[in-house]
């Protein structure tokens, strides 16, 4: 095909389309559909992986169209090496644009069984890596960078017109991408759109839902109720407070649902709400961050800090994490995979802390073995919360490699 013909085709409008289109698209594809009343199905496929996966792509197109009952018309696929779950999402998205009321769903196989219960309530949430919900290429390797959590984001990183595409893509990613040990978080949209997000995705392995721009407890309750109407599974919640009003109501928001496990703050929107610039020193948001920590601790939740937006400034990030830890935060949002290890390093306990924590844990184990109710170290009695804190410190030291797995052997 000549270049001109190709350009003409690329510019050709289809009544229904989904995905990403253009010569520079990689690891994604675009699907256009023009249904007809007769004449059978005509399939046009252009793919950078034609040599390797052309046949399987054609088979998949046939399967997807059959599922929705598309028998006549044109299906055009422009593929830049979309992985199967991405390709399936784009085709489903285009077909659902033809039949918005169809109940058909084309689900990829799950990488592992979706469990009834997520991980522990108070697991580490030191780093949570944001993944723009409509950018498939970032999903596959996200877990390799070792974040405690990945956030599949349907909110600010997804353009309004792409919300539907992103929802289906995220659902498929939840099922089939191996996110390893990372907690699978989902950031939904505000209001009714957020409930649609949940309907599409929550059954497919979401472990925690971030609710954006929360200003009152009833917003959390609404999400809680909606999840209960969909699934029996336990799903945790993390409200994000991003306004002055939200800060005023922080304590109520923190206590709004038994599903709440953490509370966090969005500083870009918060400073915009105050009408002041966000500074490196952060004096304008110090009060709000203190409130978040207090509200979280009072409700027994983890307090998690906002993101650090300069991905190049590694020292700035490390300093910002140390400052957050000093305020009482236990985690930080990451907008680039390379931020993860910096956040973990900055949150790692000091060697002296680790040493003391080990001594306390050993004393606790000895007390248990001896059947003693009271733990003591030297001449001092150790309270249960101190033991718990020491256990967490030891676990973190093991996670960061400061301690060997079998340190107490």
């Amino acid at each position: 095909m000549g270049k001109d013909t190709q350009n003409a085709l690329e510019a050709e409008e289809f009544p229904h389309g989904a995905g990403r289109r253009g010569p520079r698209v990689r690891s994604d594809c675009w699907v256009g559909i023009e249904p007809a009343d007769s004449g059978g199905l005509s399939i046009e496929l252009e793919s950078t992986v034609e040599v390797y996966y052309g046949n399987s792509l054609r088979e998949q197109i046939a399967v997807g169209c059959a599922l929705f009952g598309l028998e006549h018309g044109r299906v055009r696929v422009e593929d830049g090496g979309a992985y199967p779950f991405v390709f399936m999402a784009r085709l489903e998205s285009a077909l659902r644009s033809v039949w918005p009321d169809s109940c058909a769903r084309w689900l990829p196989e799950t990488v592992r069984a979706i469990t009834e219960t997520p991980g522990e309530r108070d697991r580490f949430r030191r780093s949570r890596l944001y993944l723009p919900g409509n950018e498939a290429k970032y999903f596959l390797n996200a877990a390799l960078h070792g974040p405690d959590a990945v956030i599949l984001d349907l909110e600010d990183s997804v353009a309004p017109a792409a919300k539907g595409d992103a929802r289906i893509l995220v659902r498929n990613a939840l099922r089939t991408v191996d996110f390893g040990a990372a907690e699978r978080m989902l950031r939904i949209n505000q209001g009714d759109l957020g409930l649609v997000d949940l309907t599409e995705t929550v059954e497919h392995g979401v472990e925690l839902v971030l609710i954006p721009k929360v200003e009152s407890a009833d917003e959390v309750e609404r999400v809680d109720d909606h999840i209960r109407s969909i699934t029996e599974r336990e799903v945790y919640l993390m409200p994000i407070i991003e306004s002055a009003r939200g800060i005023v109501n922080a304590a109520a928001i923190a206590k709004a649902s038994p599903r709440n496990v953490a509370l966090t703050i969005g500083l870009e929107d918060y400073t915009a709400d105050l009408g002041v610039p966000r500074t490196e020193a952060g004096g304008e948001s110090l009060h709000a961050r203190n409130v978040i920590v207090n509200a979280a601790r009072a409700a027994g939740l983890q307090a998690i800090d906002s993101v650090y937006s300069d991905v190049v400034d590694e020292q700035g990030l490390a300093a910002s994490v140390r400052e957050a830890r000093a305020l009482g935060f236990e985690g930080k949002g990451c907008i680039h995979p390379r931020q993860v290890s910096i956040v973990h390093a900055a949150l790692a306990p000091e060697p002296a802390q680790v040493e003391r924590a080990c001594a306390i844990v050993v004393a606790f184990q000895e007390a248990q073995q001896a059947g003693l109710g009271v733990v003591s170290l030297g001449s001092k009695m150790i309270d249960p919360p101190v033991v718990k804190r020491a256990q967490q410190t030891v676990a973190m030291a093991v996670a960061t490699g400061q301690l060997a797995q079998d340190w107490d052997a």
Partner: protein, 516 residues
């Protein structure tokens, strides 16, 4: 259609390569090359100006004086990379003179050499023996070239010239600085490229040698990397190269988080396997991942308080920093990748220019490649037997030269730093499309998903016990890649026609490339 033979690894190779008998690859170390060096015609000072002034008026005049005629083999070097302005001119002149059936023997080709396609179509160039990528690779891959493409490593090219396998009629050496006698250097002048090591064999063994420069200096040109005593004519031109395309102003490290992770895995492997120790040596290429590897390694060297004994370039600003910060006493440099490398070569006594003879030639009394503790290389594909491909894409099209890649496999530890898949194209396969390096020489495959150690290297497996670097069986990695990509990729349908031969470092033929 020439008869096909099989290598010891079962790969088909043509029995005849451009009229020469091919020797199929028989195994690593199986062939002991013998014989004499290529005979050299003895010249006499009586035929050269006593005042040493070998200048002639134009490149055409120089070529004519060297007896430029049909069927000759013409060599050029690639130190100007994509900024070369000389190689194309030689064949434009050949076309003007109505010559035909020339063979071009570049030390490598670049996209700037696309005009050679027209010279092949018109019959001026019969075929190319050298790396082919971009438009030249596409032309050769579709079977349009009159002769077979022959791809050799840098060491293999030296060996082929030295052994007389490929006699060069005229070597045209573009030089950033030269004097009228033909002494030449690459480390200074407006088109400075660092060194001229890839042209050294040509200057020693070609029947005729022409030096072309845009920076003529009074005799003697110091230092001289090319000795004027080997040169027939000197031509002064306005420009030999486009400086912006010769070396990059600054070297760019990859920003891709996944490639950084590959580099980090490779560097942590080198540290945890105990290779990183006082006096060790390493070589990393110029790609983004290799550069990032160097940066991680440097941090680890500082942490461990360890200094290298020597490092091998491709030099760049990062290697120069290591030299100038005292982390290595020496850079043994084969080609310079950025302006910092060029500056350092001029200014630092420890920045030594080298050639394929010192670094890579297998037909000699040793070479540096086998002395290296560790080398980091790329690849387009690797299979579960650790065989690797560096010249073709998975669809079989030629897209890279071999460069020093095959030669570097002689290092004590060879690490391929590669993604396990790219845009749904698996890199880890059951069998590589083109076999350029035998798996027994490839010790480690470092990917974003973890590090695979060749089971032959029990010592490395043992050394990594207790390391936190994720270690993987290569078969498990392949299964994971196929799960992600949607099964094993279908293999391309190749035509019958062999379009190129892949030579091994000992002069045997290790694989062939067929038309796509």
């Amino acid at each position: 259609m020439s008869e096909l033979l099989k290598t010891v690894l079962g790969r088909p190779v043509p029995a005849l390569i451009n009229g020469r008998q091919a020797i199929p690859f028989a195994g690593v170390g199986a062939r002991r090359p013998q014989g004499n060096r290529a005979p050299q015609i003895i010249n006499t000072c009586a035929d050269y100006p006593a005042d040493g002034d070998k200048r002639v008026g134009s490149l055409r005049e120089a070529l004519e004086r060297c007896g430029f005629t049909d069927g000759m083999t013409i060599s050029t070097h690639h130190h100007f990379r994509n900024g070369d302005l000389v190689a194309n001119q030689v064949f434009d002149i050949a076309a003007e003179m109505g010559l035909r059936d020339l063979m071009w023997l570049p030390s490598a080709s670049f996209p700037c050499h696309e005009p050679q396609v027209a010279h092949m179509e018109s019959g001026v160039i019969h075929h190319i023996e050298g790396s082919m990528n971009g438009p030249l690779g596409a032309y050769c891959s579709r079977g349009a070239m009159a002769g077979l493409g022959v791809l050799r490593s840098h060491g293999g090219r030296w060996q082929a010239i030295q052994d007389g396998e490929v006699p060069i009629d005229i070597a045209v050496i573009a030089a950033p600085t030269a004097d009228f006698f033909g002494n030449a250097t690459g480390d200074r002048g407006p088109s400075a490229c660092g060194l001229l090591g890839f042209a050294l064999a040509d200057s020693l063994y070609a029947r005729h040698v022409i030096v072309v420069t845009d920076n003529l200096v009074p005799f003697p040109c110091l230092p001289w990397q090319i000795q004027g005593n080997n040169v027939d004519c000197v031509v002064e031109v306005e420009r030999v190269g486009d400086p912006e395309k010769i070396v990059s102003g600054t070297t760019r490290v990859t920003k891709s988080p996944d490639r950084l992770l590959i580099a980090e895995h490779a560097a942590r492997f080198v540290r945890d396997a105990g290779i990183l120790r006082e006096g060790f040596s390493f070589q990393a290429g110029a790609g983004g991942t290799a550069l990032a590897f160097g940066i991680y390694l440097k941090e680890m060297m500082k942490e461990a308080g360890v200094k290298a004994g020597f490092v091998r370039g491709g030099s760049n600003q990062y290697l120069v920093e290591m030299l100038e910060e005292g982390l290595t006493p020496v850079i043994l440099d084969g080609q310079t990748f950025d302006l910092e490398g060029v500056r350092s070569m001029r200014e630092n006594a420890g920045h030594q220019n080298t050639s394929p003879f010192t670094s890579y030639n297998y037909h000699g009394k040793g070479c540096f490649a086998s002395m290296l503790d560790v080398v980091i290389l790329g690849a387009t594909e690797v299979d579960t037997s650790f065989n690797a491909n560096v010249v073709t894409h998975t669809d079989g099209r030629l897209l890279h030269g071999i460069g020093g890649w095959q030669n570097c496999l002689a290092a004590k530890c060879t690490i391929l730093a590669v993604p396990s898949f790219r845009n749904r194209i698996p890199v880890v396969l059951d069998e590589v499309t083109t076999l350029c390096g035998p798996g027994e020489l490839i010790d480690v495959v470092a990917t974003e998903r973890g590090v695979c150690i060749n089971p032959r290297r029990r010592d490395l497996v043992d050394a990594m016990a207790g390391s936190r670097v994720p270690l993987l069986d290569i078969h498990d990695l392949k299964r994971e890649v196929e799960r992600i990509c949607g099964g094993a990729p279908a293999r391309p349908a190749f035509g019958e026609q062999v379009v190129a031969a892949i030579q091994w470092v000992d002069g045997t033929t290790i694989d062939s490339v067929r038309a796509t």
